[in-house]
């Protein structure tokens, strides 16, 4: 793949994950009003939008923490309706939630093991842990330390490493750059881009940090008050001043 999968190329490849008219939220006023979304296999899609646009709700709905009141979510063409949260990681969806991504009471190594507990191939689990340490040497040095002792950047690395342990098809990330130093953000984005090229991983990234997200994404989706208001190739979206002013505030 020389050209990243832009909106056009997407139609040619298979769809990893798709949402159709998804309505979801807490209480009477849904946070998502009929969201349609298509993630081609091996693409990185960034969902951007202001606070309260429904970005986190979107990810929680896909991972099953919040059942949609209508609409359908399909993984590789199969509907996920009625599939419980703990089953979805087995199907290939892994969700890296916002902020409290690691379990503070467990050690770094235990957090990593947690990501692959459901897998039966024990030998491979061990080699996967070694791989994560290779990519994030900072974690290797702290393998026996509890998660509570890690810095914000290390926690995010651990959360992504743990998600990797599940050998997912689709990775959902909620604000991975939140509160991190630019250097750390760059490292993490590099890791995501590498996961895509190396494993063909499909990534759905939710970010307030619009520039960073669009810099590694193929497609940008603008979410505003629970509705998709634009789906464009990332580069085009970044250049569209009007959209930026309207919804992204820069």
């Amino acid at each position: 793949m020389t050209e990243p999968a832009t909106g056009q190329a997407a139609t040619a490849t298979r769809t990893a994950l798709s949402l159709e008219g998804v309505v979801a939220g807490y209480g009477h006023d849904p946070a998502l009003h009929g969201v349609d979304l298509d993630l081609p296999e091996g693409s990185i899609v960034a969902v951007v939008g202001a606070n309260g646009a429904g970005k986190s709700t979107l990810l929680r709905t896909i991972s099953g923490l919040l059942p949609p009141s209508s609409g359908d979510i399909r993984l590789g063409g199969e509907s996920l309706a009625g599939v419980p949260v703990e089953e979805r990681i087995r199907r290939g969806i892994v969700h890296v939630p916002e902020r409290r991504q690691v379990i503070a009471e467990l050690t770094v190594e235990e957090n990593l093991r947690l990501g692959a507990l459901w897998r039966r191939d024990k030998a491979e689990r061990a080699s996967d842990i070694a791989e994560v340490y290779e990519f994030f040497p900072a974690l290797a040095a702290r393998r026996t330390k509890p998660g509570s002792t890690l810095s914000g950047g290390e926690r995010q690395m651990l959360a992504i490493g743990r998600a990797y342990m599940a050998h997912p098809k689709v990775m959902l990330l909620d604000e991975p750059s939140l509160g991190l130093a630019p250097k750390v953000v760059a490292d993490i984005m590099a890791m995501l881009a590498w996961l895509r090229t190396e494993y063909g991983l499909t990534i759905l990234l939710v970010e307030q940090n619009v520039r960073t997200a669009l810099s590694i994404a193929d497609t940008g989706v603008v979410l505003n008050l629970g509705r998709v208001v634009a789906t464009r190739p990332a580069a085009e979206l970044e250049a569209d001043e009007q959209l930026r002013h309207l919804y992204l505030g820069f």
């Binding site: 703990e86 093991r113 947690l114």
Partner: protein, 292 residues
């Protein structure tokens, strides 16, 4: 000298049972954030069935197996049949339901077995072993120690060395992250109840011959003492439960011997008040307890 050793031995043996029972409370607390007020009655129910086996076969080993299996079954029934339907909005809900369960269970035991104390024979001699002129410990005390040590070590290994233990801890600390990682959290909760009830039942069975005697209300006092132990050690801390259990066993024995039986509960109450004033999260709890 001999008296001191005997007191220490008796105190530690008593404490070992407190520790075991407190450990059962801690296990449920960690797994579900429920303070299981029904634990005494559940454990006594399991002990009654073990008693039937003991009377029928004369084998204390079989009685232990029975108490573990029946305890686990009762734990399973309580969680699947009752506790999981209790709304967790207020901790009071589960406490009230548990107290209701206590009334039902003790009532049932009374109907089935009568309210009087059943004599339970000790499988080993209670006469202290003598080394020269020194009386050290009785074989039964030693036996209690060994059983408690094996169970505590087994639980420690389960939680720190196995995948199942990791899954149970992850569920206890952060059920959402655990579920996102594919851990079947509700199954882990049930397992937590089963494990806890088995351990609690074992504690009662061990204490019945020497300490409690078997009646539908045998578990009441043990529950009060062990609950204090768990609070003092830190409801979140299995290590705290064990250490605090041993300490309180010795304290209770020494105080009772020196000043009489009425002073014992008062001494424990004083200790509880001091701990709650100075370190409300418990002595061995490392961090502020997570609230569910």
């Amino acid at each position: 000298m001999s008296t001191v050793l005997l007191l220490l031995g008796a105190g530690l043996a008593r404490g070992a049972v407190f520790a075991l029972f407190a450990l059962a409370l801690v296990l449920i607390w960690r797994a579900t954030r429920i303070a299981n007020f029904a634990q005494g009655a559940m454990s006594v129910a399991a002990a009654y069935l073990a008693y039937l086996v003991l009377v029928g076969t004369g084998s204390f080993a079989l009685a232990i197996v029975t108490v573990l299996v029946v305890g686990a079954a009762i734990g399973f029934g309580m969680e699947r049949g009752l506790m999981r339907f209790v709304p967790s909005r207020s901790p009071l809900n589960s406490i009230i339901v548990a107290i209701g369960a206590v009334m039902v269970l003790t009532g049932l035991l009374g109907i089935l077995f009568g309210a009087d104390y059943k004599p339970v024979s000790v499988p080993f001699s209670r006469e202290p072993i003598m080394i020269g002129e020194l009386a050290i410990v009785s074989p039964y005390t030693l036996f209690v120690f060994v059983v408690v040590a094996v169970v505590v070590a087994g639980i420690a290994l389960l939680f720190t060395r196995t995948s199942l233990g990791l899954a149970m801890r992850a569920s206890a600390f952060d059920d959402e992250v655990a579920r996102l990682n594919g851990v079947r959290v509700s199954r882990m909760r049930t397992l937590g109840w089963m494990l806890s009830a088995a351990v609690g039942g074992l504690a009662v069975l061990l204490a019945v011959p020497t300490e409690l005697g078997l009646s539908p209300h045998s578990g009441d006092l043990l529950f009060v003492n062990a609950f204090t132990v768990a609070i003092i050690g830190g409801l979140d801390s299995p290590v705290g439960a064990v250490i605090a259990g041993l300490l309180i066993g010795v304290l209770l024995t020494v105080v009772t011997t020196l000043w009489g039986a009425t002073v014992g509960p008062i001494a424990i109450l004083v200790l509880l008040v001091v701990v709650l004033l100075v370190r409300p999260q418990g002595i061995f709890s490392l961090r502020k307890a997570r609230l569910a």
